[in-house]
C-alpha cells in the first residue's frame, strides 16, 4: 500500500492497484463523523459502440443502457440493496454521467461493513426479464420529469447543438422509446465488459483505519474471480472541430426564455498537459470575466440582459470538452449576440500581472473550500487520476502558472465556428 503525505493541505492518501486490476484510494479523516465511499466504472452514456469482452464483433446498444444498468444493479433476486444499506445505517446513491457510472454511500457507523456491501452489490448483478420490464415504468417517469425541466432541456439542447457525431449528444437516460427496447441481455453485455475491476476504482474518505480497510478489501477481492481483461475497444465517431448547429431553438411552455451559449472546447483526445492547462486556465478565465462583478458579467447586468439565474460552467473530459454560459432573459437575441462579441474579444485581451495573481488566489481558495467536502475529493480525485493528474498537487500547479500561459491561452481560446446558441422559448 502506498502512502503519500501532502503537508500543505494536511492530507494523507493511501493507494494500491490490486492483483485483479482494481485501483483503491483511501483518505482517512479521523475528525469527521462519517465516511464516504464511491465505487465507479469508467463507463457512461457515451459508451454505446464497443466490442464486448471475449468477442470480436462490435455491437451498438440502445440509448440509456448505462443509466438503466445503474438502476438495476440495486435489485437482487431476493431483495433490494437500498434495504441492506438501510439496515446498516447508511444511505446509498448512484449516478450515471456521460463517461462514468458511480455507486456511493455515506455512513457514520458500520463503515467497513458498508464498504463490503458496496463492493459486493456492484460485483454481483442479477437481471431478469421481469425486473427489467418493471423498471421501464420508473425510468419513463424520470425521463418525463426531465422533459418538464427547462434547465435540463436547455443543457441538452446546447450539447446537441455543439456535438454532431459524438455520443455526448445523446440523453443520458435515453428516451421513452429507446429504453423500451432494452433487454436483460443488453445489460449483461455491458456489465461484463465495463464492470471489470481493471476498468473501475474505489475511493473511500473519512473516519476509518486505512490498514484494516485495505486488508478487508483485498480479502474480499481475492475471493472473486474475473475473466482476463483485454484492451477495451470503444468506438467513437470522428467529430468535426466546428459546432453542429449554430442556432438551436426549442419551444416549450416557459414564462421567461432561456438562452445558452455553448463553447465547444474540443471533440477528441487531449494530452495530459493540454488538458491541465485548459482545465485550470479555462476555469479561471471564465470565472474572471463572467462571475458576479467580472467585467463581462457587469456589461450584461447593466444592459439588463441577465438575472439571478445567470451561470457558467466547464466540463472537460478525456475526449470531449465544453463550456456553457446561460441565463433566463427576456432578450435572448441581444443576450447571445453580446456574449458572443465578448467571448470573441478575449483573443485580443492581455491580462495584467496583478489581475492574474488575484485570479490564482481565487482559484486556490476555491479548491481549499471544495476540499471541505469528502464527496468533492472522492468524485474528483479519480476523474483527475484517469487523466494522469493528481488532485492534491493542483495547488502547486496553479502557483506555477505564468501570466504568459494565461495570455497564450486567451489568444486561442475562442473561435467563432466553435460557438453555438440554444434558446428555449414559449411558442
Amino acid at each position: 500500500m502506498n502512502k503519500q503525505i501532502y503537508q500543505e493541505i494536511n492530507e494523507t492518501l493511501y493507494s494500491e492497484k490490486l492483483d485483479n486490476g482494481l485501483t483503491v484510494f483511501l483518505l482517512p479523516r479521523p475528525e469527521m463523523a462519517k465516511a464516504f465511499g464511491i465505487f465507479s466504472t469508467n463507463y457512461g452514456s457515451i459508451d454505446q459502440t464497443f466490442v464486448p469482452i471475449g468477442e470480436t464483433e462490435e455491437v451498438h446498444v440502445p440509448e440509456g443502457v448505462a443509466h438503466f444498468l445503474e438502476h438495476k444493479l440495486f435489485e437482487k433476486k431476493d431483495r433490494d440493496v437500498f434495504a441492506d444499506f438501510g439496515k446498516q445505517g447508511a444511505s446509498p446513491n448512484a449516478y450515471t454521467s456521460f463517461t462514468k457510472t458511480a455507486y456511493l454511500f455515506s455512513a457514520t457507523t458500520n463503515i467497513e461493513k458498508n464498504v463490503e456491501t458496496l463492493i459486493d452489490f456492484v460485483q454481483d448483478p442479477y437481471f431478469s426479464e421481469e425486473s427489467v420490464e418493471k423498471e421501464k415504468g420508473i425510468i419513463s417517469q424520470e425521463i418525463k420529469m426531465y422533459d418538464d425541466q427547462p434547465d435540463w432541456q436547455s443543457f441538452m439542447g446546447t450539447i446537441k447543438s455543439m456535438f454532431k457525431n459524438h455520443p455526448v449528444n445523446v440523453d443520458i437516460a435515453g428516451t421513452v422509446e429507446s429504453i423500451t427496447s432494452i433487454t436483460k441481455d443488453d445489460l449483461y453485455t455491458c456489465y461484463n465488459t465495463f464492470y471489470h475491476p481493471e476498468n473501475m476504482s474505489l475511493f473511500l474518505a473519512g473516519n476509518f483505519r486505512p490498514e484494516n480497510m485495505m486488508e478487508m478489501i483485498k480479502t474480499n477481492q481475492n475471493k472473486k474471480s474475473f475473466k482476463e481483461m483485454e484492451d477495451l475497444k470503444r468506438n467513437l465517431p470522428e467529430e468535426p472541430e466546428e459546432v453542429a448547429i449554430k442556432e438551436n431553438k426549442i419551444t416549450m411552455p416557459v414564462s421567461i426564455p432561456k438562452c445558452t451559449i455553448g463553447i465547444k472546447e474540443y471533440g477528441d483526445e487531449l494530452s495530459k498537459d493540454d488538458f491541465l492547462h485548459k482545465d485550470l486556465l479555462g476555469g479561471m478565465v471564465l470565472s474572471h470575466f463572467f462571475s458576479t462583478g467580472g467585467e463581462f458579467y457587469q456589461e450584461l447586468y447593466k444592459a439588463n440582459l441577465i438575472d439571478g439565474s445567470f451561470y457558467f460552467e466547464t466540463n472537460l473530459d478525456k475526449n470531449f470538452g465544453y463550456s456553457m454560459i446561460g441565463s433566463n432573459t427576456n432578450k435572448p437575441e441581444k443576450f447571445s449576440k453580446r456574449v458572443i462579441e465578448l467571448l470573441l474579444s478575449t483573443n485580443e485581451i492581455e491580462l495584467a500581472e496583478d489581475v492574474f495573481d488575484r485570479m490564482k488566489k481565487k482559484k486556490i481558495g476555491q479548491l481549499l473550500r471544495s476540499m471541505n467536502s469528502l464527496e468533492f475529493i472522492a468524485n474528483n480525485y479519480t476523474s483527475y487520476h484517469a487523466m494522469g493528474i493528481n488532485l492534491f498537487e493542483i495547488i502547486p500547479e496553479i502557483q506555477k502558472l505564468t501570466l504568459q500561459d494565461a495570455n497564450n491561452f486567451m489568444k486561442n481560446w475562442i473561435s467563432e465556428n466553435r460557438l453555438a446558441v440554444c434558446t428555449i422559448a414559449a411558442e
Binding site: 469527521m32 463523523a33 438501510g86 445505517g89 444511505s91 420508473i138 467580472g294 471541505n372
Partner: protein
C-alpha cells in the same frame, strides 16, 4: 470524534456563537436576522439580500466588491431570505480559506470580519437611500425570480399546495415576496425598513472553524454593535393549526408529468416532547429509500421515479411529493393514503424502527460534518426557542418507542391534496 461545543457570548447586543472545529479548511461566519413573517415586510425582506450583496460603502460597485472577495482567496458571500415556521430569516454567510493553509498570509480572517461587518452595517447608500440604479436593477432581478417559479414544476406545486393549505396563515406568504408590492415600493421605503432591522430583529452570529477565539471576539465586538429595542415576542406554538376540512385541488397546465403533493398537519413542533417520535415517523413513512412511500409507490407499483416526505419542524407540517403519470393520480393517492393508515395501525416492525433511527442519526451526524449544515442545525434551537443540542437530539431519537410513533401517527391529519396535471388530463375522463 468529539461532541460539538457551542460557546455563546452576549456582546454589544449581539448573540455570538463560537464553534471550534478542525474538520474544515475554511472559516465560516454567518449572521441570522430573525423577524415574524408578515405581509407588510416580506417583499422588502426578500429584496434586501439582493441589494446587500451588490456592494458596501467602501466597495460601492459590484466589481470593486468582487475584487476584494477575490483578494481574500476567493471568499464566498451569500445573502438570502428564508421561512422557518412563521419566522423570516435573512442569512448572510461569508466563507473564506483558513490562513493556516496559506503560509504567506496572516490577515485574511481580520479582513474578512471587517468586510462582513461592512456588508451588514455599511451598505452602499447616499442621502436618498440605496444606490438608485442598483435598487431598480435588483427589483427586476427579484421580479424575474418570482416569475421563474412557474418553470420549476416541483417548486411551483409546492408553493401552490401551501397557498391552498395555509390560506390566511402567515406561513402562506411567498418567500420571494409579491410583484405588486415591488412595483409600489420606493427606495426610501426599503432604506427606512433596513434601518429598523438591527433594532427590531433578533441577530445571531456564528463563527465556525479552527480559529483563535479571544482574538476573533475582540475583532467582532470592535466592529459590530447593535441596540436592540423592541424585539418581537416569538411564541412558536402559535404556528400550529388543525385541519378544518380536507380538500382536493386540481390544476392543469401543459406538462408531461403530473405532480402529486399532499400536505398534512402534524400538530407537533420542535419544542414538543414528541418531536423526536415525529422525526422517526417521517423516516419510517417517507424520507428514505427504505421508507414506505418509496417502496410502495415506486418499487412495488412502478408509479413514480420519486416519492418521499419532508417535515417542517417549526410549523407542524408534513409534505408528500411525487411525480406520476397523469392517469395514475387516484391510484397513487390511494397508495399514499394506505401508507398513512399503516403507520396509524402500527404496521411496521421493531427492526424497521431501529433501522430508521440509525438512518436519522447517521443523517444528523453527516449534517454536522458540513459547515453550513451544522450552523443550520444549531440555529434550530433559536427558532424553536428551546435548548436541544445536536447530541440531545440524537439521544432523544434513539429513545423513541414504537408506541410513541403510533401516537404521533394518530395526530397526523391530511389537509390538502394538490395535483398539477396535464391539460385534458385524466381526472374527469
Amino acid at each position: 470524534m468529539n461532541a460539538i461545543q457551542e460557546k455563546q457570548h452576549r456582546e454589544n447586543g449581539l448573540k455570538l456563537h463560537f464553534i471550534q472545529s478542525k474538520k474544515y479548511k475554511t472559516i465560516n461566519i454567518v449572521a441570522k436576522l430573525r423577524a415574524p413573517l408578515e405581509k407588510e415586510t416580506i417583499t422588502k425582506r426578500a429584496l434586501l439580500p439582493y441589494i446587500l450583496k451588490q456592494g458596501t460603502k467602501n466597495y460601492p460597485s459590484r466589481s470593486e466588491f468582487q475584487l476584494k472577495l477575490d483578494d481574500l482567496y476567493g471568499a464566498v458571500l451569500s445573502v438570502d431570505g428564508g421561512k422557518k415556521g412563521e419566522n423570516h430569516i435573512i442569512t448572510v454567510r461569508l466563507e473564506f480559506a483558513n490562513e493556516k493553509f496559506l503560509p504567506e498570509e496572516s490577515s485574511i480572517i481580520d479582513e474578512a470580519i471587517s468586510l462582513f461587518s461592512e456588508i451588514l452595517f455599511q451598505p452602499n447608500v447616499n442621502e436618498n437611500g440605496f444606490d438608485e440604479s442598483i435598487f431598480k436593477r435588483e427589483k427586476d432581478t427579484l421580479k424575474q425570480k418570482i416569475n421563474a417559479i412557474q418553470d420549476d414544476k416541483m417548486s411551483y406545486a409546492n408553493m401552490r399546495l401551501i397557498d391552498e393549505m395555509c390560506e390566511n396563515e402567515p406561513y402562506q406568504l411567498h418567500v420571494h415576496g409579491y410583484e405588486e408590492e415591488l412595483d409600489t415600493m420606493t427606495n426610501e421605503d426599503l432604506y427606512n425598513y433596513y434601518q429598523t432591522i438591527f433594532n427590531e430583529n433578533e441577530l445571531d452570529v456564528y463563527v465556525l472553524g479552527d480559529f483563535d477565539e479571544a482574538a476573533i471576539k475582540e475583532k467582532i465586538t470592535s466592529k459590530m454593535t447593535i441596540n436592540q429595542q423592541k424585539l418581537p415576542e416569538f411564541n412558536p406554538s402559535q404556528a400550529i393549526k388543525s385541519v378544518s376540512k380536507s380538500q382536493e385541488v386540481i390544476e392543469k397546465q401543459n406538462v408531461q408529468q403530473a405532480k402529486l403533493h399532499i400536505g398534512y398537519r402534524t400538530n407537533i413542533i420542535f419544542q414538543d416532547d414528541d418531536y423526536f417520535a415525529l422525526q422517526v415517523f417521517n423516516g419510517v413513512f417517507g424520507s428514505f429509500p427504505s421508507s414506505k412511500l418509496f417502496i410502495n409507490v415506486r418499487e412495488k407499483n412502478s408509479l413514480a421515479y420519486y416519492a418521499s416526505s419532508r417535515m417542517e419542524s417549526h410549523k407542524g407540517l408534513l409534505f408528500v411529493f411525487s411525480g406520476i403519470a397523469p392517469n395514475d393520480f387516484e391510484k397513487a393517492r390511494d397508495i399514499i393514503r394506505l401508507q398513512v393508515t399503516a403507520m396509524k395501525d402500527g404496521d411496521f416492525t421493531e427492526e424497521e424502527l431501529s433501522e430508521t433511527k440509525d438512518l436519522i442519526i447517521n443523517q444528523l451526524k453527516e449534517t454536522m460534518d458540513h459547515p453550513q449544515g451544522l450552523i443550520e442545525l444549531l440555529y434550530q434551537q433559536v427558532i424553536g426557542n428551546k435548548t436541544l443540542t445536536p447530541d440531545q437530539l440524537i439521544e432523544g431519537i434513539r429513545n423513541v418507542t414504537k408506541d410513541e410513533v403510533i401516537q404521533v401517527a394518530g395526530k397526523i391529519e391530511e389537509d390538502t391534496v394538490y395535483l398539477l396535471t396535464s391539460e385534458g388530463g385524466s381526472k374527469d375522463e
